[in-house]
């Protein structure tokens, strides 16, 4: 199965381990994720202002190109890109004013699509026909968790994992329609099908601080510490997450948490795709742990049979 894939800026550089393991695991499960050519930044945040409709051009241009290439869906791995693209697409479907104006802006675009060479401004108005999927949804719905479980070579039996959802996958629930915003279960299902055990904890849908990690870092550190401490208190060996921003606050910034919160013990954090690739047979040394502050390798070597 081949599916168009939109990486977004962060996956190419700061969290390359997320992309590498995601593509490798997908390939092992029979899905070839084909990166769309010459993609541009989605804008990182969904533009909520009712008056700044121009900000929707960035994400909609991406979806328009995918539609014009003949595809009706796109897979993203980055939670932020998923939130932006899905909500922007919803705006096109539900809001006549936004649909008309964004298409009007796009009709002025003289640049050419990389694949076809045609001008962006030519061609049909975009009508919201491209479905935006997150990699987790793709695993559950296109591949199936059962099929994924059947391909597992190293069940994660002795690992207690705390699934951390963050915000962008789940909310606003009316638009994201990804899972129950207060009691989601897709990550627990995912962990279970890889043979792992879930460490349930109450902060799995609380915000990690997001961009406050840069603009109000003390607040972000408090939020991150609360989440991690709760996971540890509830018996987690490690946290599993999907979002590069959450990874920055919950993993990279642990080096600041140990200074600010005496008694805080660092805890390994995995991207869900790293665990997936490992469970499907990839060596632990090739999962990109050199990008981590807290090395998860000792935990894997100790707990999971080779």
């Amino acid at each position: 199965m081949k599916l168009p894939y939109y990486p977004g800026c962060t996956l190419k550089d700061r969290t390359s381990q997320l992309e590498n393991t995601a593509l490798a695991a997908a390939a092992k499960l029979g899905v070839e994720l084909q990166e769309i050519p010459n993609w541009t930044c989605c804008g990182a945040v969904y533009p909520v202002s009712e008056t700044r409709i121009m900000n929707l051009v960035a994400p909609i241009r991406i979806l328009k190109e995918i539609g014009e290439s003949g595809a009706d869906r796109v897979v993203t791995i980055c939670d932020f890109c998923y939130n932006v693209l899905k909500r922007a697409n919803r705006a096109i479907l539900d809001d006549d004013v936004k649909r008309t104006r964004v298409n009007l802006f796009l009709s002025d675009d003289d640049r050419r699509w990389a694949a076809s060479g045609r001008k962006v401004g030519e061609g049909e108005a975009y009508d919201g026909g491209v479905k935006v999927l997150h990699y987790l949804e793709m695993l559950r719905d296109q591949v199936g968790f059962e099929k994924m479980a059947a391909a597992v070579e190293r069940p994660l039996e002795n690992l207690r994992l705390a699934p951390y959802y963050g915000c962008n996958l789940l909310r606003p629930a009316q638009e994201m329609n990804f899972d129950d915003p207060e009691d989601p279960s897709i990550m627990e299902d995912f962990i279970g099908h890889l043979g792992g055990r879930v460490a349930a904890f109450p902060y799995r849908t609380e915000c990690c601080g997001s961009f406050l990690g840069i603009s109000s870092p003390a607040a972000a550190r408090r939020l991150s510490h609360t989440i991690l401490a709760s996971a540890q208190k509830n018996g987690a060996d490690a946290v599993v997450l999907s979002c590069p921003m959450c990874f920055y606050n919950l993993e990279t910034k642990q080096k600041e948490l140990i200074r600010e919160f005496p008694g805080f013990q660092p805890i390994p954090v995995f991207f869900f795709t790293q665990l997936l690739a490992f469970a499907l047979g990839r060596d632990a040394e090739t999962l990109g742990f050199e990008e981590h502050y807290v090395d998860p390798l000792p935990l894997l070597q100790e707990r999971v049979s080779a």
Binding site: G8, C9, T10, D13, R14, T15, C41, G43, A44, V45, P47, V48, S49, E50, T51, R52, C78, F80, C81, C167, L170, R171, P172, A173, P181, E182, T205, E206, C207, G209, S210, F211, L212, G213, I214, S215, S216, A218, A219, R222, L223, P244, M245, F247, Y248, T252
Partner: protein
């Protein structure tokens, strides 16, 4: 903290401006407080989310433009998820930021980000902070 109600403020056009920018039914709020209860950053805020809504309803433009709160909202949408009237409080925060920024200086633009953050933070963090807290 001293707050002064006045008919002039209430009847002014501040509420209408915020409604237009945010697209939200601000007068639907009946101050249940669920938003503030669920807000992860409430601890650092000077005005709680439900107080922000009340201030908008009563036309307290100055107090809101000077608050710390509107710059602390992380846009996590937990308030929207919990609101029994379906109001998106984070969208209202965004509208207030847009008004506060106007055409003036960025609250946190590229110049305000340290070299260490520029080198280490994920791109989405850098773009998000500049878009949310700058023009």
């Amino acid at each position: 903290m001293r707050t002064e109600l006045s008919a002039n403020k209430v009847k002014g056009d501040f509420l209408a401006k915020v409604v237009e920018l945010s697209g939200e039914s601000i007068l639907a709020c009946y101050q249940c407080g669920c938003c503030s209860a669920g807000c992860p950053v409430a601890e650092e805020m000077d005005l709680l989310p439900n107080q922000v809504i009340r201030y908008v309803q009563l036309g307290f433009e100055d107090e809101l433009m000077k608050s710390k709160t509107i710059w602390l909202c992380a846009s996590c949408f937990q308030c929207h998820a919990r609101c029994p009237r379906g109001i998106d409080i984070s969208k209202i925060m965004d509208a207030l930021r847009q008004m506060a920024l106007g055409s003036g200086p960025d609250r946190c633009g590229p110049d305000e980000i340290s070299a260490a953050e520029l080198a280490g933070a994920p791109q989405q963090a850098l773009v998000t902070v500049v878009r949310k807290l700058g023009n």
